[in-house]
């Protein structure tokens, strides 16, 4: 299929907790490797030069613009994409709060924001508004003006804090349950 004079690189990596093996041309970006070769299209192409964050994935615990990483560099690393945020128990709190807070309109930037925000909450579970905005400055959104995105991240922090506090670690809220909350119940910040 490929017309090229260079050999492909054999990559063994972990994606969303699963071992994944693939062959990529050496010049293919990690973004294209994930999208075209592995077939996970959650990470998006927005600019291909590291200025919009739509392609953000986690690589060994750090967020990176996957358009600026080579697929070959995934060798031996652990990668998380938006497809890996939910678990068998349900959505990640961020996915839930993004829906509840209407933190997406067209949704193209949403995978990138979710991965970036998850990385922040993993390290700083109580990041304040300024820190959240600073951390997310590498993810562009053109639809929302960021207000509801920031609110959704703060709400996810509160949710996670409550889950940690609750005695048995239960208190699992599914998105469906909270969708039925009456309109006025949202706290205004």
């Amino acid at each position: 299929m490929m017309q090229t004079s260079v050999e492909k690189v054999h990559v063994k990596t972990t994606i969303n907790g699963q071992p994944v093996e693939f062959l990529v041309p050496p010049y293919l970006s990690l973004l294209d490797a994930i999208r075209e070769v592995v077939g996970l299209t959650g990470a998006k192409e927005g600019c291909l030069d590291g200025n919009c964050g739509a392609c953000t994935v986690l690589m060994d615990g750090r967020i990176v613009d996957s358009c600026l990483v080579l697929g070959a560099e995934a060798q031996g690393t652990s990668i998380t994409t938006v497809e890996g945020l939910a678990s068998s128990e349900g959505l990640h709190p961020l996915q839930q709060t993004f829906l509840e807070e209407a933190a997406l309109q067209c949704g193209i930037c949403t995978p990138g924001f979710l991965v970036s925000a998850k990385a922040l909450l993993d390290r700083e579970p109580h990041a304040d508004e300024h820190r959240i905005r600073h951390w997310l400055a590498g993810n562009l959104c053109r639809c929302t003006g960021y207000d509801k995105i920031v609110r959704a991240v703060i709400k996810a922090e509160d949710m996670s804090a409550q889950l940690t506090k609750s005695k048995n670690g239960r208190g699992k809220t599914t998105a469906k349950a909270s969708a039925r909350k009456p309109a006025g119940a949202r706290a205004r910040r």
């Binding site: 959650g42 200025n51 920031v150």
Partner: protein, 760 residues
């Protein structure tokens, strides 16, 4: 969120905030956008674009590209059918078919840097891109003009030799002024003579881009029977079909367009760019599916930005603060082909005011820049940047409170717009009153803080919104869940707002209506997702379809109960026999019985709405400017807007906030910076500077509801009004902070420093 409602009706579903129906797919990465599509045997395309802003094409040599292993086809303008010079209505704007065809692939001339000249299909994307580099084009560069002044100067090169300009009805040949129109009401000379205070200013604006994060994409199959199937991210599948038909000279019925999820549009994904290229490449590649994704650089250089231009305004008021006259001269950059939004600018420029004597001259001028397209309330942000600053200046001259002045002169039902159209019931006054009540407006702002200057600005904005055609089908399933088929691509949550309106009528929860955005063969004609029309018009069609379904269900209940349909009532989700209270069935219960009462219940609703509810916004902004660097930060921002009726308040707020942030970017940093060869120098997100999360505060929203009498729930539409005031609002705030009037956009730091130096 604050809600100031003048609506007395109460609703069950409308006004609530359910999770949007496509939400789970979008937060999990499952949603399929145009760039995600994969078809078996798919090939990839790439486009060669002109490096020159203006040039004749002498020769295109594709031989080397064709020989590259893996290349399946190479096309140029010669592979496009010869198009006629005739206008096609797109819904928001219209287009000349010949120019549209030439814009897709240049014929004998290139009119802007980035103008497509050739395209390649290959087995993979990298090969296609490498092949494009091998195409050799022999250009004869011509002098380029990139401003309205340059394009209308003596001796300016004529961009389109066959263009016949329309100057107030007179035909003009060999011109770059495609159109000059005039609106005149009353006698402005007399009006100005009655003015105690007059302000006259000239403003310049740079071209800007919608900046959607998803680049354009298209995948096409041109099959053996000369039928085209197309998948793309578009604001209107039917509009794409119509344009494709015109450009490829093919009956619309042979073209099937499937809209995939779309990553932003704001008007920029209404015209076609890659679609015909994908189709023709498919034809030439042996009918393989061919996919193209546009590079970000080409999105800036080769799609449809918002026009920049020059606006002169003059406005006068009497000693009592009543406006007596207004004149303006609006010159817009159409780009390489005619058709800027100058007409819409004229409709909006005096929108918030009742002015007895009005004059507007509007000019649509071609320049060597990409052909402009609609960008969210096209023409309105520019028009208000000029006029709202002039009003600001006038208030200062006369010593009038800027909000009270607006109330005193507020346009209302029956008054005329700048183009003469009389307003129906509008909510301008209600919006101003609500703005006056906001904590923001009532708060005090220190003039200085830590050496930085602070200021507050206020500005109004107007957009007329459109109606147009939409079709909806509802089908009641046996389990009481209702399928809703519609044709409005969902850019901002409209699946939800349409489903909610149907649910309100059907008396069922919003989750029980399942909306599907269909392709051009699955639903009736539906105009673009644009013009702030979807919740209004497609919602109206859904309302009609749902009402039809309820009526049919009533007949079914009547059949079961051996009654006449007139004797069946439906309320609160229950069908009842009016004369016998024992006879009742819930919607779900009746749905279970459809099979035995006549079979499926499928109803449609179609609309072609000629009018829509225009709407107003008033914005208040506090800014802080560093007088040593010119850096401006937004401290606080409040949006007050009449939406008619907020169907889903979260998405209404989202539209308001999103439009404002685009306006803030427009005000502070966004521009097409042209190099000396006439090309865009800053065609990347690095140097086309859109606001990031760190550049903004939380944005306060006040939703005002003055129901639109033309819609069953009062919907006016919300998407475009928010971008109309902010460029002016920020400008007025900077003026308040620094005492300098910024007459050029963007009001970037270097420009602010220069203005401060000029002030002395």
């Amino acid at each position: 969120m604050v809600l100031v409602s003048h609506d007395t009706k109460k609703y069950k579903v409308i006004g609530t905030r359910p999770i949007r129906h496509d939400g789970y797919d979008k937060v999990t990465g499952r949603a399929v956008y145009g760039g995600d599509l994969r078809l078996p045997g798919m090939a990839w395309g790439a486009v060669l674009r002109s490096p020159h802003a203006h040039a004749r094409i002498r020769k295109v040599d594709t031989a080397a590209a064709e020989k590259l292993p893996g290349v399946l086809a190479v096309i140029t303008g010669k592979d496009m059918p010869l198009a006629e010079s005739k206008e096609v209505d797109l819904g928001e704007g219209s287009v000349n078919e010949k120019y549209a065809s030439n814009n897709v692939l240049a014929a004998d001339k290139v009119l802007y840097k980035g103008h497509p000249v050739a395209a390649v299909a290959a087995v993979d994307r990298n090969t296609a891109e490498e092949a494009v580099r091998l195409i050799k084009v022999d250009y004869e560069p011509l002098a380029a003009v990139v401003t309205v002044e340059e394009a209308t100067a003596n001796g300016a090169p004529v961009l389109l030799p066959d263009l016949v300009g329309d100057d107030l009805g007179e035909k003009v040949k060999k011109t770059n002024v495609a159109k000059h129109f005039r609106h005149e009401f009353g006698d402005v000379k007399k009006g100005f003579s009655q003015a105690a205070h007059t302000v006259e200013m000239t403003f310049k604006l740079a071209m800007t881009h919608q900046g959607y994060i998803e680049p354009h994409n298209a995948t096409a199959i041109w099959d053996e029977e000369d039928r085209i199937r197309l998948w793309c991210s578009t604001q209107g599948a039917f509009t794409v079909r119509k344009q494709m038909s015109g450009v490829l000279k093919m009956d619309e019925s042979r073209i099937r367009v499937t809209p995939l999820e779309i990553g932003g549009g704001f008007g920029g994904k209404i015209p076609i760019y890659l679609e015909p290229i994908a189709a023709v490449l498919s034809k030439k590649s042996g009918h393989k599916p061919v996919k193209l994704i546009m590079e970000r650089k080409s999105v800036f250089e080769g799609t449809g930005p918002a026009p920049g231009g020059t606006i002169w305004v003059k406005v006068g008021a009497d000693a009592n603060g009543k406006l007596t006259a207004a004149s303006s001269d609006i010159k817009f950059e159409a780009g390489g082909y005619p058709g800027s939004a100058v007409g819409a600018a004229a409709m909006c420029i005096y929108g918030p005011y009742n002015i007895p004597n009005m004059l507007i001259d509007g000019y649509d001028i071609v320049v060597n820049k990409p052909k402009s397209a609609a960008y969210r309330a096209p023409g309105s942000p520019q028009a208000h940047f000029a006029f709202e600053q002039a009003i600001d200046e006038l208030c200062e001259k006369g010593g009038w409170d800027k909000l009270e002045f607006r109330l005193k002169n507020a346009s209302k039902e029956g008054d005329r717009r700048g183009d003469g159209v009389r307003y129906p019931r509008i909510g301008n006054i209600e919006v101003l009153q609500a703005a006056r009540n906001t904590p923001h407006w009532k708060s005090t702002l220190a003039k200085e803080s830590n050496g930085k200057k602070r200021g507050r600005g206020i500005a109004s904005g107007y957009w007329f919104n459109v109606g147009l055609k939409s079709s909806v089908t509802v089908s009641v399933n046996n389990d009481g869940i209702v399928s809703l088929t519609e044709g409005s691509t969902d850019i901002g949550g409209t699946r939800a707002s349409i489903a909610m309106q149907a649910a309100e009528v059907l008396g069922i929860p919003a989750e029980d209506v399942r909306p599907v955005v269909a392709d051009t063969e699955g639903v009736g004609i539906t105009d673009v997702t644009g013009g702030s029309r979807v919740t209004y018009a497609t919602g109206y069609a859904a309302y009609i379809a749902a009402n039809n379904a309820v009526n049919v269900m009533k007949e079914r209940a009547a059949k079961l109960w051996d009654l006449k349909a007139d004797d069946v009532d439906y309320s609160d989700g229950v069908f009842r026999g009016r004369k016998d209270p024992e006879l009742k069935l819930t919607f779900k219960q009746l749905a279970h019985k459809l099979g035995e009462t006549g079979g499926p219940v499928t109803c449609t609703g179609s609309v072609d709405l000629t009018s829509a509810g225009g709407a107003f916004g008033v914005h208040i902004a506090d800014v802080e400017v560093d007088p040593e660097t010119g850096k401006t930060d937004i401290l606080r921002y409040t949006i007050v807007q009449d939406v008619g009726k907020a169907i889903h308040p979260s998405y209404v707020e989202g539209q308001m906030q999103g439009g404002v942030v685009q306006g803030i970017g427009w005000a502070l940093n966004e521009e097409y910076y042209m190099n000396k060869e006439g090309g865009m120098a800053n065609s990347s997100f690095l140097d086309y500077r859109m606001p990031t999360a760190l550049d903004l505060p939380m944005i306060e929203t006040v939703i005002v509801e003055v129901p639109n009498p033309g819609h069953p729930f009062g919907v006016r539409g919300v998407g475009e009004v928010p971008i109309s005031p902010p460029v002016a609002t920020v400008a007025n705030a900077i003026h308040d902070a620094l005492g300098v009037r910024m007459t050029e956009s963007p009001m970037k730091p270097g420009r602010i420093m220069k203005a401060l130096e000029g002030k002395g």
